[in-house]
Structures are given as structure tokens and as C-alpha cells.
Amino acid sequence: MSHLEDELKTALRRMEPPAGFAERVLERAKTPALPEPAWWESLAVLLRPPRLQWVALSVVMSLMIPAAGVYRRERQERVEGERAKQQLMIAVRVAGNKLHRVQQKVLEMGRMDTRI
């Protein structure tokens, strides 16, 4: 065994707990443990008004529901805006093409008139 292991044995020796430890354990052991509440009792405790957790939950919900609505509406508007923008771009492109074709025809007709 190395010197370090020797030192570890010294450093990690068993330790007596503070005075009166055993008496405290025995006292706790003698105290009858509270019976586990039935599932419906736990549920009834939760539902018994007014409970702080219910108040907190309703405050959080009353803030979250409108915030979620606003967020959803904004998101929908953004999507619709994007779609309208794309449709406008397509329309502009189509109109540009048509205009270009009309311009070509006018030019062709002008050339034919000069030849005649």
C-alpha cells in the first residue's frame, strides 16, 4: 500500500456523529409515520380553493392566452403579406412580358410600313 493510500485511510476514518444522534433517530422511529393520503385526498387538496398555485396559474394563463392570440394573428398577417407580395411580383412580371411582346409587334409593324 502506498503512502497516499495510508494517508487516505487516516483522512477517511469513520466518524462519530454529533452527540445524541442515536436518541434523535430512536425518537423519530417511535413517532408513527403519517399514513399516505389516498389519491382522491391529494386531488381534493389541489382543488381546494383558494390555493396559491391556482391563483398563480390563472395569472399566468390570463397573460399567456392573449399573448398567444396576438402572436398568432401577427404571424398570420406576416404570412398573408408575404403571399400578396409574391402574387404582385408575378403579376408585374407577367405584365412586363406582355408589354414587351406588344412593343415588339409595334416595332415590326412600323418596319413593314416603311418597306411599303
Binding site: E7, R14, M15, L26, A29
Partner: protein, 186 residues
């Protein structure tokens, strides 16, 4: 006399010590094993209050599950296993990392055997800074003097893992101790 888990437990001390192979009364068990359980908890948690609370909980769990104890040897195994598991759970549940305050380290009321108490304190602090599983392996090895195979049984891990935790922890401790305490013949 009290009843827990359907088995009658003698809470009060026995006027006569239990015969070999017989499980002693609960009070005798607490007094006989409190240094082991408290020591494991203290060396692991490095907090007297938490260690006492945890040690009490271990004995109360023993009180409730007394009918599962088959022999004195099984009792010791059970106490080590439950104390180790509760120590590791405690760290995980509370994300508790040892707050090493020098005033928390107990004064060496025990005999020092001519050894350096400063070195022992430094070592105890370094052990408390190891990760949870290697820490418990080291404590079981050097407080309880358990062989790797016995530690493997207590902690439900392969013997090879215990050996590797031990080896790595010793290397780490040797290295840290050399840096903390200085050049000591380790």
C-alpha cells in the same frame, strides 16, 4: 417493541448482547453503526448538518424495512448500500457540489497517530471534490476497507469500473495533493 413492515422490532437496547447470527435491537444497531453511516455521509457531503440528516434517514429506512434484513452481515451491506445511494441521490437532486469551508472540516479530535493532520484535511477536501461515483468508491475503499469486488456489489457497478475509478482517483489525488500541499513524499 414496535412494528414496522409487519415485523416486530425491538427498539430499546438489549440488556444482553445479541448472539452470533442474530440481529440485535434497533437501538443497538444505530449505536453500533452510526459512525459508519455518518462517516460515509460526512466524507461524501462534507457538511455536518446534511450528513446527520442523511444518516438519520438511512436508519429510519432501515426501521421501516427491517423485515428484509436477513443477518448481521446483510445489515452492514444494506446500510452501506442505502447510505451510498442516498449520498449520490442527494448530490444529483440538489445539484449540490461540496462547498468546502475550512470551518466545516472537523477538528482532529481523534488520535493523529503521529500523522500530519493538515495533510489529512487536505486529502479529505480533495476527496470531496471528486465526481460523485469515484468519490463514493474511494470512501468505501478507504473508510470501509472494502475490496473492489465488494464495492462493486454495494454500488451495483462492474468490478472493472470500480478499479478504473480507484486508479484514476488516486492519480488525480496524488497530482492535486502535490500541487496543493507541495512536495511531499507521496
Amino acid at each position: 417493541m414496535s412494528v414496522a413492515g409487519g415485523t416486530a422490532i425491538r427498539i430499546e437496547e438489549d440488556p444482553e448482547p445479541a448472539a452470533q447470527g442474530e440481529i440485535p435491537a434497533f437501538a443497538d444497531i444505530v449505536r453500533g453503526h452510526q459512525a459508519m453511516v455518518f462517516g460515509l455521509a460526512y466524507h461524501f457531503l462534507h457538511d455536518r448538518g446534511l450528513a446527520e440528516e442523511l444518516a438519520q434517514e438511512v436508519f429510519l429506512e432501515l426501521f421501516r424495512q427491517f423485515d428484509r434484513i436477513e443477518s448481521p452481515a446483510h445489515l452492514v451491506f444494506w446500510l452501506r448500500k442505502v447510505a451510498s445511494r442516498r449520498c449520490i441521490d442527494q448530490i444529483r437532486r440538489r445539484s449540490f457540489w461540496p462547498k468546502l469551508r475550512l470551518d466545516e472540516v472537523p477538528e482532529p479530535a481523534m488520535k493523529t497517530d503521529g500523522r500530519d493532520p493538515m495533510l489529512s484535511r487536505a486529502l479529505a477536501r480533495l476527496v470531496a471534490s471528486l465526481p460523485e461515483k469515484p468519490r463514493m468508491v474511494v470512501i468505501l475503499r478507504y473508510q470501509e476497507d472494502l475490496a473492489p469486488a465488494e464495492i462493486a456489489q454495494v454500488l451495483d457497478m462492474p468490478v472493472a469500473t470500480v478499479k478504473s475509478h480507484l486508479q484514476r482517483s488516486l492519480d488525480m489525488l496524488r497530482d492535486k495533493l502535490a500541487r496543493t500541499v507541495g512536495e511531499i513524499a507521496i
